[in-house]
């Protein structure tokens, strides 16, 4: 395994390329959810550069780690990292939300190499991760199951059912990541339905809860390493993020939850991202 500095350098490059891909993808498709992709980008970049054991030549190999994008609407971020890691051809970027091709509007494990389960109906990913982790335990492998959850997604009751399951079975191989950008479709999370003491809730559900800045690559790395080393039960990274991170006019703007940049906005965003 590379050392931390090399991984962080790779993750920084990957995150930058991912952000550019996300902007181009949503612009060309005329749709998608750029805000929640850009908030999740740094987390996904560090995860894939430093932790995920996957093989683009054999995406379904039996000993792979799993990544479940439970907040399926952020799939451009997943496609972007899969392009960076060689699962997808970067030229497929034009296929996002297209009638044909391998990049549907929400994740499909049937269509896209590197995608392990379909998502898009919120709330299901953590349960899937628990099942995969229990199976891996039976199989005697050390596979890990990572799940990215949206903060608004935590309104779904199933997530809390699955939190109890992971704690009950002490699933140390499960690591949940909450993209806590505090904005959702109808407005701010606190206006729609507050999550209150989120860390305390996970903690009292029997999880090891780590609160981090979801854009500080070093902090993300340390938290993922700590989660991997923790053997007693599941870990959640509550990652404070900024919706639209990296594009000035998208940052913190609820309108960019589900909206495509037009030609001018796309050009402006790409310029900003080149200057990073």
């Amino acid at each position: 395994m590379d050392n931390k500095e090399q991984i962080l350098a790779a993750a920084a490059r990957t995150a930058k390329n991912m952000r550019r891909s996300i902007i181009r993808m949503t612009h060309m498709a005329g749709g998608g959810h750029p805000g929640g992709c850009l908030s999740a980008t740094d987390l996904i970049a560090v995860l894939y550069e430093g932790f995920m054991r996957v093989d683009p030549q054999n995406p379904r190999r039996r000993d792979r780690d799993f990544f479940f994008l439970s907040k399926g609407h952020a799939v451009p971020a997943l496609y972007a990292v899969l392009m960076e890691k060689g699962f997808l051809d970067p030229r497929e970027i034009t296929d996002f939300r297209a009638k044909t091709g391998r990049l549907p509007a929400y994740p499909s494990c049937e269509l896209t190499p590197g995608v392990d389960i379909a998502s898009g109906s919120l709330g299901q990913g953590l349960s899937v991760a628990n099942g995969a982790a229990l199976a891996a335990r039976l199989n005697g492998t050390d596979q890990r199951a990572y799940v990215m959850l949206g903060d608004g997604e935590l309104h779904e009751g199933q997530v809390w059912e699955a939190m109890m399951t992971a704690a009950h079975y002490r699933l140390a191989s499960v690591c949940a990541i909450v993209d806590y950008n505090k904005l959702q479709l109808d407005g701010s999370l606190d206006e729609v339905k507050t999550l209150g003491d989120l860390r305390g809730k996970w903690d009292r559900f029997g999880w090891r809860a780590l609160e981090i800045n979801g854009h500080e690559l070093s902090e993300i790395y340390d938290a993922l390493a700590e989660a991997r080393a923790w053997r007693e039960g599941p870990t959640v990274l509550i990652a404070h993020t900024i919706k639209g991170k990296g594009v000035s006019f998208m940052e913190g703007e609820v309108g960019w939850h589900a909206a495509a940049p037009n030609d001018r906005e796309c050009a402006l965003a790409l310029k900003e991202l080149s200057d990073l």
Binding site: V128, L134, A135
Partner: protein, 319 residues
């Protein structure tokens, strides 16, 4: 002889557990009712109680399958298909995961627990999802065969398993092939298509119809999806009058599937026996079946009505 299909199911799981280490069983706090308790006792490491959480158990099953296991996911049919439907649709069927969903306490079998506990909609909920196999075996012998067939089948499937002691109407040496219906009794005057415990009642009805001069062909449609179109078409073309019998609502259930198919390929009268778009009552198993008309007498009546419609005669008066 009467045997509860769930007993055969529980025993079949233990057989499969011995033969294949990849078989795992998940239950939602109803292991005694579903009789997965037998598997739990035999293979405690491969039994997982997910508690009262049907959404969670469904998607957890998908995760097991993704990592190479063959999970059998169990709960009461209405709660499992009701609370877990979206998970069944997305994480299992759209994701094409090899998960076996098994619904228990079906139809009228919860008796005095009443309307909240009578699954009369689960076939309909399962049937609308693309790629999902839907089964309801006729008796204990067939339940064992179906359970084994599901373990060997690579893909998502939903099976209803009966709770109540049910007459054994199939034989050990009868063939059982997923998607291939069996003719339990040949006839040429009217077709009765049945599944689950209604198969025995259909055979009783056929005996009564014979006494009245009508030879009924009884089809055991253990696989509701995919339909055995060939056998249905051949029988409907021959008799041109059909009755269907299920322990389920007539809306969207097995009878609906048969009617949809025949309307397109061989439009003949199809009379559906089952609950008629109403909720149930708190009563004994037998009284609830009587309330819904899930009886051999009702099958006789509807078979005769189908024949009357075919022949252009007025049907016997009824409400």
């Amino acid at each position: 002889m009467k045997i509860a299909p769930r007993e055969a199911y529980g025993r079949a799981l233990v057989e499969l557990g011995r033969e294949n280490d990849d078989i795992v069983v998940l239950d939602a706090d109803v292991a005694k009712a579903s009789m997965t308790s037998l598997f739990k006792e035999a293979f405690p490491d491969r039994f997982f109680d997910l508690g009262i959480a049907e959404s969670d158990i469904m998607a957890t099953g998908a995760g097991f399958a993704l990592a190479g296991k063959i999970p059998f996911v169990n709960a009461y049919a209405n709660f499992l298909l009701g609370n877990g439907w979206e998970q069944l649709r997305l994480s299992i069927c759209y994701s094409r995961q090899n998960v076996k969903i098994v619904g228990h306490n079906i139809g009228a079998s919860s008796g005095k627990d009443g309307p909240t506990h009578l699954p009369l909609e689960d076939i309909a909920l399962a049937r609308v999802i693309p790629g999902l196999l839907v089964l309801e075996p006729a008796d204990a012998i067939e339940t064992r065969k179906a359970t084994r067939a599901l373990a060997a089948y690579a893909g998502p499937a939903y099976m209803r398993v009966g709770r109540m002691p049910t007459p054994v109407v199939t034989r050990e040496d009868d063939p059982f092939v997923l998607g291939r219906a069996n003719i339990c009794r040949p006839g040429q005057d009217v077709t009765i298509v049945a599944c689950g415990c209604m198969t025995a009642k259909a055979l009783e009805a056929a005996a009564e119809l014979a006494a009245r001069g009508l030879e009924a062909e009884v089809i055991n449609l253990h696989t509701i999806k995919p339909l055995d179109e060939e056998i249905l078409l051949a029988s409907a073309r021959k008799t041109r009058a059909v009755a269907t019998a299920e322990e389920h609502s007539v809306c969207g259930g097995m009878g609906g599937a048969v009617a949809e198919f025949l309307a397109a390929r061989c439009p003949v009268p199809v009379r559906a026996i089952g609950s008629q778009d109403i909720f149930g009552i708190c009563a004994s198993y037998e009284d609830i079946q009587e309330f819904f008309g899930m009886t051999s007498a009702k099958i006789v009546e509807e078979a005769e009505t189908a024949c009357a419609m075919r022949d252009g005669r007025p049907a016997a008066p009824r409400c």
